[in-house]
């Protein structure tokens, strides 16, 4: 597991929830390896923000992408080579703000990918502005008098958009989170984990989440029950909220074709081109 670490200096604030996410992910990968999944088949990407630094801290291949686009990046990688397990790490600003169009469509088309949202309710790296999931009244440098918007709810949004695996984790519960991550990666289709992540510097929610979360207790195969669980605001259910089987996008689109593996040499291409032209 430790070899999953890199030499990059970790620059998260001490106590940041991102540490829990990093540790959980390492455990999840170790777990997958013990089940025979070669870590070389993992492809990771990240947006831009505190969350995204996880890219530098994991000894895994992939692209450190741009704000909100990691969601598209990994889908492209998957379509290029469906043998990859692709994982996108995103921030709440990243995924629900800048990149939300990609998120919705990844869910809609059931792209086979894992989306891990470091949901800290704040733009951490740009020093604390409100995000799509910040509570009404949140005071940040762009909303000094308090945000006047109600937050988006990631889980219901994803359920409505067609996600086939929807979960909520908490960076303070590393073991459960690791388990969710492993499940999500193995899920053949769009897997979404909203990770409650305290930001000790700009939005310290440890107390809130320590007290206000509980294990999900409904049947995750039941969409209506999932919607109800997602809508709960009294206490936040943690765990798999919804899971269902559906053919993944790459499979629908490509069938057995693997663009990288099956890439033709030039001779084969020229033959096919000649054939197509002869029909023009």
């Amino acid at each position: 597991m430790s070899e999953l670490s890199t030499k990059a200096e970790n620059t998260w604030c001490p106590g940041c929830g991102n540490f829990g996410i990093l540790n959980a992910f390492k455990r999840a990968v170790a777990g997958l390896e013990s089940e025979g999944v070669d870590r070389g088949r993992l492809y990771i990407s990240a947006g831009i923000g505190c969350h995204a630094k996880i890219f530098d801290y994991l000894a895994l291949s992939g692209l450190y992408s741009i704000h909100g686009r990691e969601i598209a990046t990994v889908q492209g990688a998957k379509l290029a080579n469906p043998n990859l397990y692709v994982v996108a790490f995103g921030g709440d600003g990243d995924v629900f703000g800048e990149g939300v169009s990609h998120l919705l469509f990844a869910a809609k088309r059931n792209a086979d990918m894992t989306m891990i949202v470091h949901d800290n309710g704040v733009y951490g790296l740009t020093t604390g502005q409100y995000t799509p999931t910040s509570r009404r009244g949140f005071k940040g440098p762009s909303t000094p008098a308090g945000s006047v918007e109600d937050p988006l709810d990631p889980l219901t949004l994803m359920l409505v958009a067609g996600a086939t695996f929807v979960a909520r984790g908490y960076s303070g519960k590393v073991e459960q989170l690791a388990d969710l991550m492993a499940k999500a990666i193995k899920h053949r289709g769009f897997a979404f984990i909203d990770v409650l992540q305290p930001c000790v510097t700009f939005n310290d929610t440890y107390k809130k989440y320590n007290a206000g979360t509980e294990p999900a207790a409904h049947d995750p195969a039941d969409f209506a029950a999932a919607m109800a669980a997602a809508a709960r605001r009294d206490r936040l259910p943690l765990g798999v909220v919804y899971e269902t089987d559906k053919t993944a996008f790459d499979r629908e689109l490509l069938g057995e074709h693997n663009p990288v593996r099956d890439s033709l040499p030039q001779a084969g291409r020229l033959e096919r081109i000649a054939r197509v032209i002869s029909r023009s």
Binding site: S45, L63, Y64, Q75, G76, A77, N83, L104, P259, R275
Partner: protein
């Protein structure tokens, strides 16, 4: 006239099957072994308005439609009004007999007869082939055969309708024109088809695009031929998704391409710069229409030149090139995809509606096409951004036991983020050196076309080259036409020899962007700039006159 250019213009409302009619005529001419140039002019709408196609054909090479028609077929009054003045001296106008037209024109029961059929609008396009058949002396049964071959549906109606119109046309039109056969049958291809095929030839594995005229038909073509060609075409949620997916695909080892027009490409800029920083090979097709903004979506322009040359924030090497013919579009697309992969940087194929959508008899040298073998990684520890003397680092893709980290941040050789000052300088130098390697490499390539070597120098690029060459042919003008294929890096080493000459620039831009580029990067101060910027391509007749006046 048998050896001369023959031009068919047919006009009517969108929904009358005008474009299809042009295609049928073009195919007929091509099957006669003649050369063909087909241009479709249509506004941004689905039904109504006014569309026309201009199909010019000659026994020898032809690189533009003409705007004076020999046979002018007007399916409605608006077409009569729009095109009555576009008749050549020997030309004849055929029109729906419900429309008012000058004497000497031939009224046919085009709309009246169409009423009997299921789709009385769509079927009227068939009248074009019928009139053409009559005018060039085809028999009624040859016409029936042509219709059967050309239309994939509705021939139980198309054929009787065509026969009726043919019979009505025969008395007036028979024997009007005689067209010689040419030397051999050639395939008809649009620029966009050539681009798509060139990409496949150059190694394309996966194509991403969001529809945008005039680039959309690359998507349509590749989606339709995906299996035949062994590639994949994906249409995602928007252009930002498009380019970021393509970048993801490239980092996983697939040769990827995207295509759009100005507005969609504008949305790709952030990711274009990502490709520059992360050194991701990526080919982008930018097919221009008149802007700014939505502009004239279905017309042609070269007004995106500066935009294309200066894409993306920050400093990084890129290649921009623009094909001057359908054949070159094929060759160049393959070459650019290869350059993107050899130098791991984004490339732009800049083209225009006029090349993208015009259809010509083209002989692609399918086999004579670039194929790049990017630097592979040696065994052992891998560093994505190895600071090689050329600036070009070896490539490796997951799945791999090595770690392959691509990065949008400034990074060290391993692809790990660092904000260290010394490293930043080194990496900026590496990217700059890579640009120099690329420029050096271009010196070994064919980067500038020159046609002719006498007379005054005319400089042009992209699809305007087609117009210029036909104008010279039409006007019997002698000139040296110089067309830089590459625009960034601009091959000044080839161009500067023209610096002292009396240079005329021809371009489709209102501010003379190409002329400025030549001045700024190659020290060529043109004596005059001939511009057109109403979205319509130059007409050879008009351009020939302008070039003569300029002499």
């Amino acid at each position: 006239m048998a050896d001369e250019v023959f031009t068919l213009i047919a006009g009517g409302k969108a929904g009358y099957g005008i474009r299809k009619a042009g295609t049928v005529a073009a195919a007929l001419f091509a099957r006669m072994g003649r050369h063909v140039f087909q241009m479709d002019d249509y506004p941004s709408l689905i039904r109504g308005g006014h569309n026309f196609c201009a199909v010019s054909t000659a026994p020898g090479p032809i690189t533009s439609h003409y705007t004076k028609a020999d046979l002018l077929v007007c399916l409605d009054q608006r077409s009569v009004d729009a095109h009555a003045s576009h008749l050549s001296e020997r030309g004849v106008m055929v029109h729906d007999d419900k429309a008012k037209a000058d004497e000497g024109s031939v009224g046919l029961p085009i709309s009246a007869e169409a009423k009997q059929y299921a789709d009385p609008e769509l079927i009227t396009g068939v009248a074009v082939a019928a009139a053409l058949a009559a005018a060039i002396g085809m028999s009624e049964s040859e016409l029936a055969g042509l219709i059967e071959q050309s239309y994939s549906r509705g021939n139980e109606e198309n054929v009787p309708y065509a026969r009726t119109i043919y019979k009505a046309a025969l008395p007036a039109l028979k024997g009007w024109f005689r067209l010689n056969r040419g030397e051999k049958e050639r395939p008809l291809l649009s620029g966009n088809e050539a681009i798509a095929l060139g990409a496949v030839a150059g190694g394309l594995d996966i194509f991403f695009a969001y529809p945008m005229t005039p680039a959309s038909s690359i998507l349509h073509f590749l989606a339709a031929r995906a299996e035949d060609l062994g590639v994949v075409a994906v249409h995602p949620e928007n252009e930002i998704g498009v380019i970021n997916m393509a970048i993801g695909a490239a980092t996983a080892g697939a040769r990827a391409m995207v295509a759009s027009s100005g507005g969609g490409f504008a949305l790709m800029q952030e990711a274009f710069s990502l490709a520059g920083m992360a050194e991701v090979p990526l080919l982008c097709v930018l097919s221009s229409r008149p802007g700014p903004s939505t502009g004239l979506p279905t017309y042609t322009s070269q007004g995106d030149l500066s935009f294309a040359l200066n894409q993306g924030h920050g400093e990084f090497p890129r290649v921009v090139a623009s094909p001057g013919s359908v054949e070159e579009a094929y060759r160049l697309t393959a070459e650019l995809l290869g350059l993107a992969w050899e130098f791991q940087t984004p490339a732009i194929l800049l083209t225009e509606k006029h090349l993208s959508e015009s259809r010509v008899t083209a002989e692609l040298e399918t086999g004579k096409v670039a194929w790049a073998e990017p630097v592979p990684a040696a065994p052992g520890p891998y560093r994505r951004y190895l600071d090689a003397p050329t600036g070009v680092s070896p490539l490796l893709f997951p799945p791999s036991s090595e770690i392959v980290k691509w990065n949008s941040y400034e990074h060290d050789e391993n692809g790990t983020t660092t904000e260290d000052a010394g490293n930043s300088t080194r990496m900026a130098d590496k990217r700059r050196r890579k640009g120099e390697s690329l420029a050096d490499h271009l010196r070994t390539l064919h980067t500038v076309n020159a046609f002719g070597d006498k007379g005054p120098v005319i400089m042009t690029y992209g699809s305007t080259t087609l117009s210029v060459l036909e104008a010279l042919r039409h006007g019997g003008i002698e000139a040296t036409v110089v067309q830089p294929v590459f625009l960034e890096p601009l091959p000044w080493w080839e161009l500067s020899r023209y610096a002292g000459r009396n240079v005329t620039v021809v371009e489709q831009s209102s501010t003379g962007m190409f002329a400025s580029l030549l001045k700024e990067k190659a020290g060529i101060v043109p004596a005059r700039v001939i511009k057109r910027y109403d979205g319509r391509p130059f007409a050879p007749e008009e351009l020939a006159a302008a070039l003569k006046a300029a002499e």
